[in-house]
Symmetry: C2
Subunit: 311 residues, 2 copies
DNA sequence: TTTTTTTAATAAATTTCATTTATAATTTTT
DNA sequence: AAAAATTATAAATGAAATTTATTAAAAAAA
């Protein structure tokens, strides 16, 4: 067994097609056929079921492929360690970002990256928190930006900034006349929320110490984006809760509907996350700098940490 | 870069000598010289400092070697996955055991292994809890037996049995006339303890809710083995606390000095531990069976779990 | 059903690359 | 300074990956 063979294995699994995989590997099709067979002989098991069309891995084949991916990831880290040590920033960085952060951060950091670090390639992908953790552990993405803390044993979190929560109150709502919003006065029925997969929703539920019991409350509408929630609130009674970065982007008219909370400061901690064994630290420093430059200094005060709403 | 080269690299690091490493790898010395050079050229860094005698890895070399070990461990798991799936129990199993468990378990399980599973090779190594965790993570040992729970994120714990604690009271001590020992009456000065690196000592300190402040108490003697502690107590006033397995091996005379504790049952949980990604599960089942057969059924009641003294 | 196309396997030739043998260079020990 | 130990280098060898050419088998199309 050799590294090349493992790469062929992964290519065949990705394409489920020997000829296409061969092309990507820059070899001819018989090479793959022979090398995969050689692995199968050596291990004494069939890895692919060639009677299926397109071919698919056998049960044991799936396990072998999974472990081959892990092995190749670890092998790749050898060269990454060396490149990092040589301060060589090579290759692209795939960064996953959760939607409620992405919309404000992505344009900023993309522009800065083009100007200041155009020699690096930054690929941005929108992911939910769950997807992000999974992809980071698999090595499919290099790092992620999300609302922490996660406290995952194999993930390192690098706090970037702290984002205050604001109430966005409908002009049609009686709460609109208040200067500050008392959390205890918020009626569960009148809070417009994001869909369940958004972690921001969880934080808001936590902040309001409420958990909507969907079974007996008719949920009128749950949105996939904060923009939509704001539009809903503009024309319907009720409130929604939005993070600072979003508040900054509102029109002057909309700013009128923003209210701070009474007596409490609530923030979410936005962190850059990577696997603990991630080795491209020079690249990571660039990403970190990039994001921090894109965010007002006032939001980077570590003292804000104590107001973090956990999930 | 190929797997062979990585193996050469590890061999050279282990021996710090090209010729000796070559012999172990079953190749000639020039092969190693050339292959290590090839890796160095490919990575663009020197891995070994050949001006030192014996040669030693450079700073970056150390990192490369460390990652090479991780990679080889992951690669080895590919064949292990296949062997395990084929129900083939191949190769030896290196089992680390902490001293206070080893002395009673080792003879039993060795004998049983010889009789029932002589086709497997079981290698036993005595390790402290700290060493054991480190060696398991490095893959130097396959599994370990220790007192849990550990709650380590990357280690799986398989509870094996629960071992009661007993007081062993000196005939010269006034507590000797009591039928049961009241923990609150134990005088810190009169408890003979193991040396600090034994986790059993920590559990006993926890049980007695005491932490000897060494600075102002002259520690008369701390032993490396329970046997020695028992001998000390046989001829000196005071008590010591010993686990059930040990109590069973005492002479009839010594059994007279055994006392249960008043009102409480205290046990330690003995567990088999492996890395969470350990793949030789068939082998693991054999080890588990082996140990369980060596321990009285009465000690395997899961209900005993609630009396566990944590650390 | 038959033909055509797609896809993977096989055989022989070729090339690449690890390895060996023999030897040189360098450092350490005596 | 000579001998011994240790690593590096050069040319020859051999094993294994790869290619080209072809076959076999299965799926899709006619």
């Amino acid at each position: 067994m050799n590294i090349q063979q493992l790469e062929y294995l992964i290519a065949v699994d990705n394409f489920r097609h020997f000829a296409k995989a061969a092309e990507v590997c820059c070899v001819t099709q018989p090479t793959l056929s022979m090398m995969i067979q050689k692995m199968e002989d050596e291990l004494g098991v069939k890895i692919f079921d060639r009677s299926k069309h397109p071919i698919e891995p056998t049960e044991i084949g799936k396990k072998i492929i999974e472990q081959a991916r892990v092995s190749l990831l670890q092998l790749k880290q050898i060269t990454e360690i060396v490149d990092n040590e040589k301060q060589i920033v090579k290759g692209s960085f795939i960064l996953g970002i959760i939607p409620t952060i992405a919309s404000y951060l992505v344009p900023e950091i993309l522009a800065r990256q083009q100007n200041q670090y155009s020699e690096t390639e930054l690929i941005l992908r929108e992911r939910t928190t769950t997807e992000l953790i999974s992809d980071i552990m698999k090595g499919v993405v290099d790092g992620g930006i999300l609302a922490g803390p996660l406290n995952h044993p194999d993930i390192e979190e690098i706090p970037l900034y702290y984002e205050k929560f604001y109430a966005y109150v409908s002009p049609l709502d009686k709460l609109h006349q208040e200067k500050e919003i008392d959390l205890s006065l918020i009626d569960i029925h009148n809070v417009w929320l994001l869909e369940n997969e958004h972690c921001l929703r969880g934080q808001i539920e936590r902040l309001c110490k409420m958990k909507r019991v969907d079974s007996n409350i008719a949920v009128r509408y749950e949105s996939g984006s904060i923009e939509t929630l704001i539009h809903v609130v503009d024309y319907n009674p009720g409130i929604t809760i939005i993070p600072e970065m979003h508040a900054m982007g509102l029109t002057e008219d909309q700013q009128e509907h923003l209210r701070p909370f009474k007596d409490i400061t609530a923030v979410r901690e936005v962190s850059l996350i990577v696997r603990k064994d991630y080795v491209r630290r020079t690249m990571l420093d660039i990403i970190k700098t990039l994001v921090k430059e894109s965010v007002p200094k006032s939001m980077q005060d570590p003292k804000l940490k104590e107001y973090v709403v956990n999930l």
